[in-house]
Each structure stands twice: as structure tokens, then as C-alpha cells.
């Protein structure tokens, strides 16, 4: 049979479960207490109204485990008890420090089974298990929703989904960048004609050179030293284009102008 303590009609303490509840929010919100904090509170409530010395608390809380702790550990445990009670909704400071004597609980307490203090509609959920619940080291109110989020954010599935989304996101970016294909990447280097370093879409170097010279005769193609000319032959049936650039067209700050030589096609040719 589980014993519970109702403190000032506000907070329900279940020492066996090491849990504190605000009675109004039971069982949605609970505070899990560390073992020593739980034991301190229990001892204070068991001796409600009595002054418990530090020596008594050391022996009752830590001594039975053969542990020796500093005074500071006791003060921290008492501080944690106070914070936990406050977090659970208890406005009054029911744990008093008695100078040079110890600590005293001045709470109004009732003991009984948890169900004795709860409205009929509330049922202790089976799934709430202190062994599997995160422990509130410092009076963090843990509710089930937080636990679910915590579990979700830690789950491998969430990381897998995040990885998948990242890959999709990168694929979208790659798709955007992939539109920017290098237009002249597969052009054949024809060699220098005048000052122009000529590249041609046509694989035949000699044909490209003669074509370039013929076009230059129609309208002069003038290059400064270092300029390049990119000739696109017969892809568009209306003519040939030549890009004259001061540097590689895909490099920053390149300047190019386009020459477009119209050609008439005759069916008999």
C-alpha cells in the first residue's frame, strides 16, 4: 500500500515514488526528487514540528548507506526540498532553518493513500514510472508532453528524417545550380586566328578556321591580345554566332559582345 502525504492541501508527496505533485494538476505535472532530497523531505514530515539536527539527517539520509557527505550537501538537499515544494505550488516556506539546531517542518500534513486526496476523475497513469522518467535535479517541472518531445528529439527516426530533409534540401539547391551549365564547355579549341583564341562548336578544326576567316571577311572580327572568340556553327539555321570576350566568359568581370552572322539557306545547296 502506497503512502502519500498531503502538504498544506496543495502538494501531494509520494515518497515511495519519489514524486511531488501539485494536487490541482495531478497527474499531469510531477517533480521527481533525487533519493537524498526525497529522504530529507520524508524525515522532516515524519518528524513534523520537531527540530531535526544535522547529525540526525546525516544518519537518516546518508548514514544508512554508509556514505559521508559534507554539510554543504545537506544544505543543498534542503534547498532542493524547498525549491521542489515551491515548484509544486506551495507558496509557504514550510521547512524552517533553526539556527545552531537544525531544520524543522511546520507543514499541515495528512497521510493516506494517494487516491484519498484526489478527485475521482484522476487516475495514476500506469505509464508514469519514476525509473523511466527524467529526474528533475533542480525542480524542473516535467510533464508528459515535455517527455514526449524529449523522446522524439532523441529518437533515431527524428535524426534520420532530419538527414533526409537535409539531403532533399541539398538536392533542391543542386537542381538550382545545375541549371547553370557551362555553355562553351565542349567547344573545340581551334587555335589562334589573328589575336583571337578561337573555340568552335564544330569538331572539324580546319572547317572551323575557314568558316571563321570567311565570316571575318564579311565583317571584321577584331580581337585584342588575350581575347577569345567562341563560334557556334549551324546550330541555329539562321546563322552563326560568335562571342568575343576579353576573358573566359564564365569568369568574373568578363566582357563579351555577340556577333551574329545571318545566313541564307538554299534547298539546293
Amino acid at each position: 500500500m502506497k503512502t502519500a502525504w498531503l502538504i498544506n492541501d496543495v502538494v501531494l508527496f509520494e515518497p515511495d515514488e519519489r514524486r511531488l505533485y501539485a494536487i490541482q494538476n495531478y497527474p499531469a505535472q510531477c517533480i521527481i526528487l533525487h533519493g537524498p532530497v526525497n529522504e530529507c523531505l520524508l524525515q522532516l514530515l515524519l518528524h513534523n514540528g520537531e527540530v531535526l539536527s544535522q547529525r540526525f539527517l546525516f544518519d537518516a539520509v546518508w548514514g544508512k548507506q554508509g556514505a559521508v557527505v559534507t554539510t554543504n550537501a545537506l544544505y543543498q538537499a534542503i534547498a532542493s526540498v524547498r525549491k521542489a515544494l515551491k515548484s509544486a505550488g506551495l507558496a509557504d516556506d514550510v521547512i524552517k532553518t533553526i539556527p545552531k539546531a537544525g531544520f524543522k517542518s511546520v507543514a499541515q500534513i495528512c497521510t493516506g493513500e494517494p487516491a484519498d486526496f484526489l478527485p475521482q476523475r484522476t487516475v495514476i497513469p500506469e505509464s508514469v514510472d519514476a525509473g523511466h522518467m527524467p529526474v528533475a535535479n533542480d525542480n524542473i517541472i516535467i510533464n508528459k508532453q515535455d517527455s514526449r518531445w524529449d523522446a522524439l528529439l532523441h529518437s533515431p527516426v527524428a535524426f534520420f528524417m532530419a538527414g533526409l530533409l537535409f539531403c532533399l534540401s541539398c538536392a533542391v539547391l543542386y537542381g538550382s545550380l545545375n541549371n547553370d551549365k557551362a555553355v562553351f564547355a565542349d567547344y573545340q579549341q581551334v587555335g589562334k586566328i589573328g589575336n583571337c583564341e578561337v573555340f568552335s562548336s564544330w569538331y572539324d578544326v580546319e572547317h572551323s578556321r575557314s568558316q571563321f576567316n570567311a565570316l571575318s571577311a564579311r565583317y571584321p572580327i577584331t580581337c585584342k591580345p588575350g581575347d577569345s572568340a567562341y563560334m557556334t556553327v549551324n546550330r541555329l539555321q539562321q546563322g552563326i554566332s560568335i562571342f568575343l570576350c576579353d576573358k573566359t566568359p564564365d569568369s568574373a568581370n568578363a566582357h563579351c559582345k555577340a556577333l551574329f552572322y545571318r545566313q541564307k539557306y538554299h534547298e539546293n545547296q
Binding site: T70, N72, Q76, S169, Q237, R262
Partner: protein, 170 residues
């Protein structure tokens, strides 16, 4: 003898913060490529550029400076230059076309709303230009390919025809 350490105040809070930081970093990692893609997409739809082109016919040339402006589905084309036929004096030519555009299979489809081509009289070379530049409600499909951060190739029928460089204020 065993020393029991006091409780680690705020350890869970730190864990939670680390978890949120981790997921924050993951969300940023997911969002960054999408934002970059969005930025690229925005740039492809909002820019103004200039190109210099010389069109050479059998007995005439047209030397023009063109300006294309794209602004989220609507745009404009402006050109001005000179038309020289044989030994005749150079003729000043210009054109303004407003158009709507959209992307289809990676290519830009532009449909003219209005044109204002000068001179009005028909010259053989001008007449050979695609209808889009003369008449309203005529379409043209152009592949606009980024050359570098500041320039685009305008590819018409697998042939690059303009090298359009972004205006300085773009």
C-alpha cells in the same frame, strides 16, 4: 567510505539546451540550401542586364545595345543602335518591348505585350528578327543560363545570342 556528491544543479536544463542547440543547428542546416535555392530563384526573376550585339546580314549590319529587365513575371526589352546598309548613311534604330514571361522546362517563355519599333518602315534585316520583337502577343523561348555572378547567356535555338551583364545597380 563513500563520498556522495551534491546534486548537479541544472544538469537537465543544460541537456535540454544542448538538445535544442543541436536541433537548431540541424534546422539551420536544412534551411540553408533551401534559402540559397530561393535566393537563386529570386535572382533569376529579378534582374536587369545589358548586352552588346552586332547582327551581320549579307549587305547590312545592325549594331545595338540591348537592355533586358525581369521583374517577377513581367519584363521589358529596350534596344538602341544603328543600322547600316551598304554605303548608305547609318540609320538610328530602337525598340521597346514589354512582355510577360515564365519558366517552362527550364526555359523562359516571353510573350510580348507591346512593341515600339523604330523606324516603322520595314528593313529586310529588321524583318528577319523574331516576331516577338515586332508584334504584340508573340512568343519566344530563350534559355537563360548563368555565366557568372554578373552575367547570363541568352541561348536561342541552342545558339548563344546575347551575353547579358547585370546593370551595376542590380
Amino acid at each position: 567510505m563513500r563520498i556522495v556528491r551534491p546534486f548537479f544543479i541544472g544538469r537537465n536544463t543544460m541537456k535540454t539546451n544542448k538538445l535544442f542547440l543541436l536541433w537548431g543547428a540541424i534546422l539551420i542546416a536544412i534551411a540553408t540550401p533551401l534559402l540559397c535555392a530561393g535566393y537563386l530563384s529570386y535572382q533569376r526573376n529579378h534582374f536587369t542586364c545589358d548586352a552588346h550585339a552586332i547582327i551581320v546580314d549579307e549587305d547590312a549590319i545592325m549594331d545595338i545595345i540591348t537592355n533586358y529587365s525581369f521583374d517577377g513575371g513581367s519584363g521589358s526589352y529596350e534596344s538602341s543602335g544603328k543600322y547600316i546598309k551598304g554605303t548608305q548613311p547609318a540609320l538610328t534604330v530602337s525598340n521597346n518591348v514589354s512582355f510577360n514571361y515564365w519558366y517552362e522546362n527550364g526555359k523562359m517563355i516571353m510573350v510580348s505585350n507591346d512593341t515600339n519599333e523604330l523606324p516603322k518602315r520595314t528593313e529586310p534585316l529588321l524583318d528577319q528578327m523574331p516576331d516577338f520583337y515586332h508584334l504584340r502577343d508573340r512568343g519566344i523561348s530563350i534559355d537563360i543560363v548563368r555565366a557568372n555572378a554578373a552575367s547570363y547567356y541568352f541561348v536561342y535555338g541552342h545558339t548563344p545570342v546575347f551575353y547579358c551583364t547585370k546593370s551595376r545597380n542590380d
